[in-house]
């Protein structure tokens, strides 16, 4: 049970101060941290402000104060590719939704097996699963591309989504295994005595209890898929099928330094969903990366 406590509450919330610090050094420390935070976020803030500036001003105004709101940048950026930018947002949303559903279903199934079942070859399979977390996608992309092109899947969303239904994101399998291991086995035993088989225990007992791990998986999948560029660049070459990162990149190459205002505007639009996911889900994000990183 100490094991359980360790795993369920790996990120304890702020413990009280060990010893009071002198206020002087504390103020210096906070000033330093706030300065660093400002330096780190400044480029992003500046991009948001610049997306509302005329082009010639972007290269003259390193500050954050706006003379006026030039929302035309957004209209211009929105309409300057083959399709309105909304088209690419929808494409990205479809891919992201598919990936989230796929990861939730397939990773939780695999995690239940690794965390709760005894079977032949478990150790070896578990080691292989952990090994694939560290496998770079570049090592498998060529044969994968050949496979999907022979299936006629190039320029569809299938190469991006189908693998997620096959639990290829082992990172999430591991995250869920960790979480399930922390759930009391007594609950399974009770359900088993009541005559429930594994599918039932999984659906009725384990799945409802692992909502936090599912939320972490959903949010990470959302952000990583939304930002993913490499595989979307490779599998989507038809402009009609472009997702946000690929569309944004084609826009950059088409307008090299002529229209930074509208380029920044679309960059801001593309980051907005990530930022919202971060705001809504930061508790799960921080717990998620902490639990998979520590004992």
């Amino acid at each position: 049970m100490t094991d359980l406590q360790e795993r369920v509450a790996p990120v304890r919330e702020e413990t009280p101060p060990i010893r009071p610090r002198s206020t002087g050094s504390s103020i210096v420390k906070h000033a330093g941290l706030i300065l660093l935070a400002l330096v780190m976020l400044y480029p992003v803030l500046w991009m948001v402000v610049s997306s509302l500036r005329p082009n010639n001003e972007i290269f003259r105004s390193p500050g954050l104060i706006l003379g006026g709101l030039r929302i035309e940048n957004y209209a211009e950026g929105w309409n300057s590719l083959a399709s309105p930018f909304g088209h690419y947002l929808i494409n990205s949303a479809i891919v992201v939704l598919g990936c989230v559903i796929g990861n939730l279903m397939s990773c939780s199934l695999a995690a239940y097996a690794f965390a709760r079942l005894e079977f032949t070859g478990k150790k070896v399979l578990f080691a292989i699963m952990l090994g694939t977390i560290m496998l770079p996608i570049h090592v498998i992309i060529v044969p994968q591309y050949i496979l999907f092109s022979q299936l006629g899947w190039i320029n569809t969303f299938l190469p991006l989504v189908v693998p997620k239904f096959l639990a290829t994101d082992a990172f999430f399998v591991f995250l869920m295994v960790q979480f399930i291991r922390g759930l009391p086995r007594e609950l399974d035993e009770a359900a088993r005595i009541d005559g429930a088989g594994h599918p039932r225990i999984f659906l009725r007992v384990v799945l409802p209890l692992m909502v936090p791990a599912l939320a972490t998986t959903a949010i990470f999948t959302f952000i990583w898929t939304w930002n993913d560029f490499f595989s979307q660049l490779i599998y989507l070459t038809d402009p009609d099928k472009y997702t946000v990162p690929v569309a944004l990149r084609s826009y950059v190459d088409a307008t090299v330094s002529t229209s930074w205002g509208s380029m920044f505007a679309m960059s801001v639009v593309s980051l907005l969903p990530v930022f919202l996911a971060f705001l809504l889900g930061q508790r799960f994000l921080i717990k998620g990366i902490a639990t998979t990183g520590i004992k």
Binding site: V11, E14, T15, P17, I18, M40, L41, V44, F59, R60, P62, S106, L109, Y112, A113, L117, E118, T120, K123, A127, M129, L130, T132, M134, L135, P136, V139, I140, I141, Q144, Y145, I146, L147, L166, T168, F174, Q178, H198, F229, F230, V244, P245, L248, R249, V252, V256, W260, S267, V268, S270, L271, V274, F275, F278, Q282, I286, A290, T291, G293, K295
Partner: protein
Amino acid sequence: MSSLGELQRLGSSTAGPPRKRDNRAAFFFLSPWFAGLVLITAGPVAASFVLGFTDYNLIQPPEFNGLENFQRMLHDERLHHALGVTFTYVFVSVPLQLAFALGLALLLDRGMRGLAFYRSVFYLPSLLGTSVAIAVLWRQIFGADGLFNQVLGWFGVQGQSWISDPGTALSTLIVLNVWTFGAPMVIFLAGLRQIPVMYYEAAAVDGASKARQFRSITLPLLSPIIFFNLVLQIIHAFQSFTQAFVVSGGTGGPSDSTMFYTLYLYQRGFHSFDMGYASALAWLLLVIIAIFTAINFWASKRWVFYDD
């Protein structure tokens, strides 16, 4: 326990008491994962090994050409250059990034006011850093008339285009990677929380200085997490692609100064459709990453401390 900890321990753990095996249920639960392993992960790893010994352009069937691809690697100067760029990037940016992550985690540790706020602010760039949008922004910031030069102007310094100078282009990408120190920082923070406060209290009673406490308590107890972050960030950095691609407009320029290994692989495979050579390159990458991970594991015996 971290995934690395699990891997290290798998071999040594003893079998538990014999239990009823649930092979049929396991087959059901694991079949999607297993299909993915065969078709999407392990299968392609094996396939790319075989393709590495062929000449294949996607149109004509692959033609076996023995060790030709590997001989070509020996004389491929762009590849050697790409390796140099990638190694520089990995071995400069990862230590810097982890130093920032650890330094900030130590500053933010335990009970300080506003901790959750700072943690979020420093973590945010890790989520944004791999996006095309941030790469676009970087291209502007470090361009000739970019934000960076405007700020330098305040101090009377005349800047240059950092992106289009082969001597500095890679540095801008290193800065971008260091900027994303938030993710390892959060892992360090969680690790620091696990160190019992009483160790520090006992050390303080014994008159140990802050520096001594850091050296004798924090560092050894945190070493498994430093190790975890090091392995992960090195593997991660070897695979960087988006930033170099967008900043250089897909060319790896100027003068190949941002030609990351993955970018070179992409160009050979998906521009020239030289799939055989690209597969051989993929395997070389796998071997390089495996070697560095193995070195890390081997070296870890000398400096990583496990208290159980």
